[in-house]
Structure formats: structure tokens, C-alpha cells
């Protein structure tokens, strides 16, 4: 029996949507609230505002793809569901940046890990970034609300062999490890969360908040890039969107003009500051796009005698925070340890090289495990993050420099990962670096890692968590919005996404976005009652 596709069923029941690529003439749309971006922040905000009775228009640059479209094929997923056709990179091309671009945003393609914002992070924001109203106690009910809404619970099924390496290794070493809470209902444990969930088990925005919004009469415009806000006398007076072709590559020439009482920016790190930069939004203290963080990731591969099949099963189910707060909140660079799934196209680039060298690595794929470290950037004075800039065609790019402070953390992370991998039963370990090879003992791995020249391109670096760039905080000198996400200079513009974070989170950020934006949207719904 085929899996039901509730989104398509909703469309056939008359949900109101506009496909930018098929517009034959320019369009004008009106709403109480226009929400730019349909990911974690936009979806959450849309559901709350439409439930409060406001007419909501959700605007998404990417295509509308639903469960029937998700074929679990890497090339189809990467070209259609990821920013820039998975070509998004830091300005120097050294860091691959994975972000979603489709209705549902990154929630459509993330690996479902759902953590509350860590307490030390919230406390750091209050203390160092003048953030008010987001203490752990104040946030707890919002996290709880969204956990219930999205079925977030620790994964009850045994971890796949790839994840189990963290458990086994940490057990043996006496390091802490835990089961990852995931936002799924009735998960089939397939392992393809990163390519769009084919069974609608993942509680992404596509199957939760967006359908709820459309049921309430909200509208969805997709394949439409929010190009520019019109700004006059401290207010947003309109939004110009350009219709995109069905590849989401080139504008078709059609435009959509949006008029709303209030505008919510929810394009995420990089795209939200970019729209404000394109719109020449007031930025008197030059904060826009600054302090953009990545949870820079490095990885370590390991070979096992037994079959790992790292492409099957829930991609992330076990983590270790053993090293995360060891040196305090603002000490040396620290990291969370998790694993990535390894499907062939992603695996070949991570394992690196070409010809017989890469072929040998790939031949062992079923026996290969990989671990990753998410570096907690933005807490130490030497970790200042990157800046969003506009390229020649007004699209954004992130200039992110890897500081000596971060490199030192990356080297320690290579050591930690190798140690846990050997303790977890690995027969050989290889840090993902151009000059590395598989070595068979921890002592050899330590010598190898200490000798690696840690530099761009040779070290394989990535990011799946773009945060910051429109930081919140009470002091306009240091922040783009106040603690309620209200733009400091534009009265009818709010920002509801991960770009608000004053630092990185120190955990996969989706639940941080859900909880924060649920809180902000509820407050916005109250404020909008009094025009």
C-alpha cells in the first residue's frame, strides 16, 4: 500500500498555494502577516499566528516537494532540496554549508536531532549579550510545547551500528553519552532523513505547522525569492519577490508584490541578513550579517570488522557532550560528538582522494563508520564568526575565517574521535584530512593527528547549522533585534529564525529555533491585537 501524502491531499482539498515558476503574469498578494521562509522559524510562526486568527502568507524560495517526491536518491535530493543545489560554501570554498531550500526549509532535510538550547548557552546570552526573557526557566514551557507538537522524544529503537560506536567507545572510556531525542512519529528507521522523509514520519514543517496554517486559510507562495523590502519612515511598506524557475536557479521575470501589516523574516542564517542587506535596511552600528556561526564540523572515519552499513537506520541517535562544557562556557573550543550517515555520494567526498585510493575507501563503505565534532563557536573572544556579504548578483555568501583558536579545537576533536572509535572497537581510524591514512592503533593515530597540517582544503570542513547574523539583544549597538525579535530600527519587522542567536547553540539547533520562535510568535500575536 502506498504511503499517504497528506500534503497533496490537502492541496486537492483546496489549500491556497502559488507556484512562482508557473506565473504567467505579475502578482500582488496581501496578508496580515507575511512570513519570509518556511523552515523551523517560519513554519512555527505561521501556525501560531494563523491559529490566533491572522491571515498569513508564507513565502518560500525553494520548490514544493512532498513525500511522494522523495525517492531517497542523493542527486535528486541535493539538487532540489539544498541551498544553491548543494553548492553553498564559505566564500573561500573551504567549508561546505548544508542548508535546506524547499517548503519546510532545513527541517525537510535535517537528521531530526532535537535538543533544547543548553542552559549554559542561555545563561551566556543573558550575561554577555543583553538578552532578556530567555532564561532556562522562561524557555522550558516553549520547548515542552514544541516537543509535544513535533513528537520529540529520545529514540527508543536500538541505535544503528554507526551510532553505537559512540555508545560503546564512551562506555569503555567512562565518557558520558546519551540517546538523541528525535522529532518523528512512526519512524521506519530507514536512514534517509537528509533526502526528505518518504514516509512523513519526520515531523518537519511540511507535515505539521504548514498544513495547519493552510487549513486555517493561510496561503503559501513558493519558488519565489524575497528580493527586497521597501522601507519608508522606519517601516516596511512592501516586499518584492522574484519568481524562480522550477529548478530554483533563474528568475523567470515575473514578480510578486506583497503587502502586509507586519513582516516576519525567517530565512535563516545567511538568507535573512542578506535580504536586509539588499534592502539597505538601517544598520547604524554595522551589525547586520556579522557574528554568523557554523558549528564548524570535522570528521573521523573508522573501519570495523563487522558490518556497519552507515547508510541505513536513524542517522543520529547517540551523542556525547563529554567535551562540550569541560572547560567552562568560554574556555577552549569545545564540541559535541555525533555521527553523520554515509550514503555513497557524500561518503566519497568525505573519504577524499580519487582513483585507487578513494576506490579502496569506498569498497569498505559497509564496514565504515564516521564520527563528527560540532564546534561550539561564538563563546570565546577569539571566536567571532563570519560575515554575510552580497555577491555580484546580490545573492549572499558567508566569509568565515577559521581562527587559530578553532584549529586547535579541531585538532583536539580529531584526537577525541579517534580515541572513542578505537575504544568502540575500530580496527583502523582515519581523520578526514588530505594527508591522513588509516592507522591501526591509537598511538599511531595520535602521532598522525599531531603531525597534520591543519589548513583549509586539506582538512575536510562542513557545516549544517548556520546561526547568527541578525543577533538579538537589548542594546541596538550590538544587536539587530531586541529580545522579542523586533527589529531595532523597523517597527513592523520581526526576525524569527536561527539568525537571532548571539552565539552558536552548542547542539543541533532545530528545537532552539522552534522554542524561541514559538515564544516570539505568541508575543507577536498579542501585540498585533493593538494596531
Amino acid at each position: 500500500m502506498p504511503v499517504p501524502d497528506p500534503f497533496r491531499e490537502g492541496l486537492s482539498r483546496g489549500w491556497k498555494t502559488y507556484n512562482g515558476s508557473q506565473l504567467t503574469q505579475d502578482l500582488t498578494l496581501e496578508a496580515d502577516v507575511a512570513i519570509i521562509g518556511s523552515g523551523a522559524g517560519g513554519g512555527t510562526t505561521a501556525e501560531i499566528l494563523s491559529a490566533a486568527g491572522y491571515k498569513v502568507l508564507l513565502i518560500e524560495e525553494g520548490p514544493l516537494k512532498t513525500s511522494s517526491d522523495f525517492k531517497m536518491l542523493e542527486d535528486q535530493a541535493y539538487t532540489s532540496l539544498y541551498q544553491e543545489g548543494i553548492g553553498r560554501m564559505s566564500k573561500d570554498g573551504a567549508i561546505t554549508i548544508l542548508q535546506g531550500r524547499a517548503v519546510g526549509g532545513t527541517t525537510l532535510i535535517n537528521w531530526t536531532s532535537s535538543f533544547r538550547t543548553p542552559t549554559p548557552t542561555l545563561e551566556h546570552w543573558a550575561k554577555e549579550h543583553d538578552v532578556k526573557g530567555h532564561s532556562p526557566a522562561e524557555m522550558a514551557p516553549w520547548f515542552e510545547k514544541m516537543e509535544q507538537r513535533l513528537g520529540v522524544a529520545p529514540w527508543r529503537v536500538p541505535p544503528n551500528a554507526n551510532n553505537d560506536v559512540i555508545r560503546k567507545g564512551c562506555e569503555k572510556l567512562g565518557y558520558s553519552w546519551h540517546v538523541i531525542p528525535r522529532n518523528v512519529r512512526g519512524c521506519w528507521n530507514l536512514g534517509y532523513c537528509g533526502m526528505g522523509c518518504p514516509t512523513n514520519a519526520k515531523q518537519s514543517m511540511l507535515v505539521t505547522t504548514i498544513p495547519a496554517t493552510l487549513e486555517k486559510g493561510g496561503e503559501l507562495l513558493y519558488l519565489a525569492r524575497a528580493q527586497q523590502l521597501s522601507i519608508k519612515d522606519g517601516k516596511v511598506t512592501g516586499l518584492q519577490c522574484v519568481a524562480m524557475d522550477d529548478r530554483c536557479v533563474a528568475p523567470t521575470g515575473r514578480t510578486i508584490t506583497v503587502k502586509a501589516r507586519h513582516y516576519v523574516l525567517a530565512g535563516g542564517g545567511i538568507n535573512s541578513p542578506a535580504l536586509l542587506l539588499r534592502s539597505d535596511a538601517p544598520d547604524p552600528h554595522k551589525r547586520l550579517g556579522k557574528r554568523t556561526f557554523l558549528h564548524l564540523v570535522n570528521m573521523s572515519a573508522a573501519l570495523f570488522d563487522e558490518v556497519v552499513n552507515p547508510f541505513y537506520g536513524a542517522p543520529q541517535s547517540i551523542y556525547s557532550d563529554h567535551f562540550q562544557w569541560q572547560d567552562g562556557t568560554t574556555g577552549k573550543m569545545s564540541y559535541k560528538l555525533e555521527v553523520p550517515p554515509l550514503h555513497p555520494a557524500l561518503a566519497t567526498t568525505l573519504l577524499g582522494g580519487f582513483g585507487t585510493e578513494n576506490a579502496q575507501h569506498m569498497e569498505h563503505l559497509p564496514h565504515t563508520h564516521a564520527m563528527l565534532a560540532l564546534l561550539r563557536d561564538g563563546f570565546h573572544p577569539e571566536s567571532t564568526g563570519g560575515s554575510v556579504e552580497l555577491r555580484g548578483d546580490n545573492t549572499p555568501v558567508l566569509d568565515y575565517q577559521v581562527s587559530p583558536y578553532a584549529w586547535e579545537g579541531l585538532r583536539r576533536a580529531f584526537h577525541s574521535m579517534a580515541e572513542i572509535q578505537f575504544a568502540g572497537g575500530a580496527s583502523a581510524v582515519m581523520p578526514m584530512h588530505a594527508d591522513a591514512r588509516y592507522v591501526k592503533t591509537l598511538a599511531e593515530a595520535r602521532t598522525l593527528i599531531d603531525g597534520l597540517s591543519l589548513e583549509l582544503y586539506r582538512t575536510r570542513l562542513g557545516s549544517a547549522h548556520v546561526m547568527g547574523g541578525c543577533a538579538m539583544g537589548e542594546d541596538p549597538k550590538n544587536a539587530v533585534t531586541d529580545s522579542l525579535g523586533r527589529h531595532h530600527q523597523l517597527s513592523n519587522l520581526s526576525i524569527h529564525d536561527g539568525s537571532l542567536f548571539p552565539t552558536s547553540i552548542g547542539a543541533n539547533p532545530q528545537l532552539s529555533v522552534y522554542g524561541l520562535t514559538a515564544q516570539l510568535a505568541t508575543s507577536l500575536a498579542e501585540r498585533l491585537k493593538n494596531p
Binding site: K71, R88, G93, V249, F354, M362, E363, R391
Partner: protein, 181 residues
């Protein structure tokens, strides 16, 4: 506007590029300069959406070296074709800015005037040996110019991802493919 490559005297002296402080700046505009001066065609080759005949020349030389060891005997020509079509589709979905950078990289590799000094392959791509191609890739990976290191990284990612996206490659890596839903 960038000068035409053929008017650039630096190119006629092989050793200069390696040490010139201006080399990176030169490289950054080389592809664009080539495009502006009409040295490179912008028309896609027959059967492709993005890849041009000049791109196919060096990619057909490069890909067999990159895929060596992962393709069954006798299957290389078909595998190269499958990789090229998958690559073409990937390029067709890249953002215009990333496609532009990639095509500038391809221009640098494709045109005689830049190919020799930058890759060490002075004859045509069709006649380059596997050894020469591996040497070129090694040279870029270890170049003092970050642009060449970036080019090396991009080339490898584009080609290897394209090949391992194809079901034909999965036997080699023991991947049974996605489950039935």
C-alpha cells in the same frame, strides 16, 4: 574589463606565475577574461545542458583517472558518460554564482594558453597520460595558490559525487540502494 589572456605577457613566461604576487588576482579573473575575450564557447555540447565541448575534452581525460579502481573492466567508457550526465545535471542546478566560478575553473583547464602553465599538461588533454593527470591533480592540491587548491577540491567533489550518485557505482561500494517504501 579584464584584459584578453593572449595579451597577458605573464603567461608566456612559465616560471613567472609560480612566484608572482599577482598570480592569484590573475587567476581570479583568468576565466572571466577568457570568457569576455571570446576564447571559450558558452554553448552546451550536443546532449548536454551545461557542459561545453571544451569541458568534455578534459573531463573525458580526467574522469577515467579519478574513477580508476571503482569501475569494472570494460565499463569505463559507459561510466564516464554516466558521470558526465550526472555532473551536467548537478551543474544545471547550481546557483548562477557557483556555476560561474565552476565554468571559470573549466575555462582555465580547457584553454591551451592557461592549461600548460597551470597544469603542466602542455599537449592536448586526449594525449595526456594518467601519470600526467595525477601529477596535475597533485600539483593543484599542494599549490601555494589557494585558488588552485580550491579548484582541486571542487573538481574532486563534482566528479566523485556525480559517479557515486549513479546506481552503476553502488556494486563497487557495497551499497544495496534505497529500500522499497
Amino acid at each position: 574589463m579584464s584584459p584578453s589572456l593572449t595579451d597577458t605577457p605573464a603567461l608566456s613566461r612559465r616560471g613567472l606565475l609560480k612566484f608572482s604576487l599577482g598570480a592569484t588576482a590573475f587567476l581570479a579573473t583568468a576565466g572571466l577574461g577568457a570568457s569576455l575575450s571570446g576564447c571559450s564557447s558558452s554553448v552546451a555540447a550536443n546532449g548536454f545542458v551545461i557542459l561545453r565541448s571544451g569541458d568534455l575534452l578534459f573531463l573525458r581525460a580526467l574522469i577515467p583517472v579519478m574513477l580508476e579502481g571503482s569501475v569494472a573492466a570494460g565499463k569505463m567508457p559507459a561510466s564516464v558518460d554516466e558521470t558526465l550526465h550526472c555532473l551536467d545535471n548537478a551543474l544545471n542546478h547550481l546557483s548562477p554564482e557557483m556555476l560561474k566560478l565552476t565554468q571559470q575553473l573549466f575555462d582555465v583547464l580547457g584553454m591551451t594558453v592557461t592549461r600548460g602553465p597551470l597544469t603542466g599538461i602542455w599537449g592536448s588533454w586526449e594525449n595526456a597520460s594518467s601519470e600526467e593527470i595525477r601529477h596535475f591533480l597533485d600539483r593543484w592540491e599542494n599549490s601555494s595558490l589557494s585558488l588552485l587548491r580550491m579548484g582541486h577540491s571542487s573538481l574532486l567533489q563534482l566528479v566523485m559525487m556525480a559517479w557515486y550518485s549513479r546506481a552503476e557505482s553502488w556494486v563497487h561500494c557495497g551499497y544495496p540502494g534505497p529500500p522499497a517504501v
